[in-house]
């Protein structure tokens, strides 16, 4: 059975034809021609009053009869309430647009000139929420969440357009409260006799346009909006890439394999140091990755420095590590160095002392690893990606602002 039951009637005041979009649920409707509010529950359609043409016009782009895609369903805007609230200093207002979907379900679209738009859907809290709980600054429990009551007030219906599911009257008052927890929003409305709860979701300006297809009539605005969306997606991808780069930098030191190491500490006879002591022989390869040589040496007094060198094929020679003795005590010093080789082959690791023969023996421990990735590169890449991501995000905001100003005709695009 179809839920949406449209039906037409002739206005009892001016005779104009009025199309009611959901006749089984509508209890009142305002004639679009003469603004008579008609009670649909009374025989002969009693006239409740006249609202007056041109009063309380909408401030945004939404109008009765517009269609929107909300949650994948086609909706039509069928009614509007203008609510007004005052305190000692000022008066403010907002609109509540009633939308009906093709399956007969209802949603409210709230439109506040300062706060923007939101979609409200009725729901039943798992645990009761009472008006007494809804004090600004209080936290109330909704299911497993404790939400913060941000605002409470009392609105008065100032104007009505279209059809409503109850006999709403100008002057009717309703208390309300809004609460949030992170991205979750809730709204509550009550009178002495009725209490309703809604989940609310903020709707951004670009999202509203997309919902209502507003950009179709302004190709330039649409182009800027679409560019903004694409840039935002790119910014997200860049940011995720940055996070991945930082992640790789964190795990890079652990990616690789050991090549060789000393078997405990290698004794360094004082007499042999100056001539060179072979610490080991290793097979080294060219290609992806690099080698990390780590050594810890006890340097006796009188020894200025040790060099640990690689002697490779074709009498090539390179110093991997230099231990420079600082101070006067017999200290243990360590060093780490990264290197690659241009020619694969067997290399000898040789330690040579500098300058004079030391007075005492020393000792060195060493190990050689192969690593695939250089963490520093990925950190730099991550930083670059973050910067690029931020720049892209700001470009997307700029495009969105241009789109917004083009649509509304504001100055200073």
């Amino acid at each position: 059975m179809a839920k949406l039951r449209p039906k037409a009637l002739d206005c009892p005041s001016c005779g104009a034809s009025i199309e009611v979009r959901n006749a089984v649920r509508a209890k009142s409707v305002v004639c679009g021609t003469c603004t008579a509010q008609i009670d649909l529950t009374k025989p002969g359609f009693e006239i409740l009053g006249k609202l007056g043409a041109g009063r309380e016009p909408p401030t945004g782009p939404i109008r009765l009869g517009m269609h929107a895609n909300v949650g994948g369903k086609e909706h039509e805007v069928i009614g509007r309430l203008r609510l007004r609230e005052s305190d000692d200093e000022e008066t403010w207002f907002w609109d509540e647009w009633l939308m009906v979907s093709e399956d007969g379900s209802y949603r409210w679209l709230s439109e506040d000139p300062e706060k923007g738009w939101g979609i409200d859907e009725p729901f039943v809290p798992e645990t009761p929420v009472t008006p007494a709980d809804l004090v600004e600054g209080n936290r109330v429990r909704i299911g497993d969440k404790r939400v913060l009551v941000r605002e409470r007030g009392r609105g008065e219906i100032a104007h009505i357009e279209g059809e409503m599911t109850w006999r709403a009257r100008v002057g009717d008052r309703v208390d309300y409260a809004d609460a949030t927890l992170g991205l979750h929003g809730y709204a509550f409305e009550w009178t002495n006799d009725e209490f309703e709860s809604f989940t609310t979701r903020e709707v951004s300006r670009p999202e509203l346009w997309a919902m209502f297809g507003l950009g179709r009539s302004q190709p330039e605005a649409t182009a800027h909006h679409e560019r903004s969306q694409a840039l935002r997606r790119s910014a997200t991808v860049l940011f995720v890439a940055a996070l991945l780069a930082f992640g790789v930098a964190l795990v890079a030191p652990f990616l690789g394999s050991p090549v060789s190491r000393s078997d405990g500490g290698v004794s360094l006879k004082a007499a042999d140091v100056q001539h060179g002591i072979q610490l080991g022989e290793v097979q080294l390869e060219k290609g992806l990755g690099f080698y990390v040589f780590e050594a810890a040496a006890y340097m006796p007094r009188g020894m200025e420095s040790y060099d640990i060198e690689l002697e490779g094929p074709g009498s090539s020679k390179a110093t991997i590590v230099r231990f420079q003795h600082v101070g006067t005590s017999h200290d243990r010093e360590s060093a780490t160095e990264r290197f690659t080789v241009s020619e694969p082959g067997v290399y000898r690791i040789v330690l040579r002392g500098q300058e004079k023969t030391p007075a005492q023996d020393g000792q060195v421990e060493w190990r050689l690893h192969r690593r695939l990735l250089v963490p520093r590169w990925f950190v730099l890449a991550g930083i670059a990606l973050v910067v690029l991501s931020l720049w892209t995000f700001f470009q997307s905001r700029k495009e969105a602002m241009i789109a917004s100003s083009l649509y509304y005709g504001e100055e200073g695009a």
């Binding site: 059975m1 006749a23 025989p43 007969g104 009761p128 009472t130 009725e194 209490f195 309703e196």
Partner: protein, 207 residues
């Protein structure tokens, strides 16, 4: 073997009214809108009511259809008016001989059963919207309360009501079920309803 249902004559216009089930206690003459209480001793007229009007209706008197695959017909209807609108309670007779109420309120449908809990209901004045109330053995969150008037009825119903009578009511929610409590002259009636999707209702000759 077909069950024989009795007929009665309308005390106002004399029209013959066939009673559709054995438990009819209120009947409204289709011709002149005379309402009458049906008792063992006969018919007690209670007055005339204006015909119920519908801008659009889900059901109509004597409609036939299927509800969740079960064939039914609408035997009667009561309308309750309150400040912001009204709700209808349709009395259904299923083809399998069982009965039920289908409540239609602001376009929502509830398949309901009614019970009397005169001793276990809290006073109406103690009910507060948004608060718990214990109705019988059920804890209910009160979502609405108010005063309604029986605007009228049509067809045949299994209870005696007086059109124009007022009653206090409260609606609430109990674990997903809708609970409606009506404080009337003859006691407190609790209606517990399960929401019915429109897709589960198939009415012949939609209105």
């Amino acid at each position: 073997m077909a069950l024989e249902t009795p007929t009665l004559n309308c005390p106002s216009c004399g029209a013959s009214v066939a009673l559709k089930h054995r438990n009819v206690k209120l009947a409204v003459c289709e011709f002149c809108q005379q309402t009458m209480h049906v008792t063992r001793d006969g018919v007690d007229p209670t007055g005339k009511t204006a015909p119920l009007t519908d801008f659009a209706a889900v059901l109509a008197l004597n409609a036939r259809g299927k509800l969740k695959g079960r064939g039914f017909s609408t035997a009667g209807r009561l309308r309750f008016e309150y400040g912001a609108g009204y709700w209808d309670e349709w009395f259904l007779l299923f083809d399998d001989g069982t009965e039920a109420w289908l409540v239609e309120d602001e376009g929502d449908l509830l398949l309901a059963r009614k019970t009397h809990v005169s001793q276990d209901a809290p006073p109406f004045s103690s009910l507060r919207v948004g608060h718990y109330a214990t109705i019988g053995e059920t804890q209910v969150v009160v979502t609405e309360r108010g005063t309604a008037t029986i605007a009228g009825g049509e067809g045949q119903l299994p209870m005696q009501v007086r059109p124009g009578a007022t009653l206090e009511y409260a609606d609430g929610n109990a674990g997903g079920s809708v609970v409606m409590v009506e404080y009337a002259e003859d006691g407190v009636e609790v209606t517990v309803g399960e929401p019915v999707d429109y897709d589960d209702l198939d009415v012949e000759d939609e209105f």
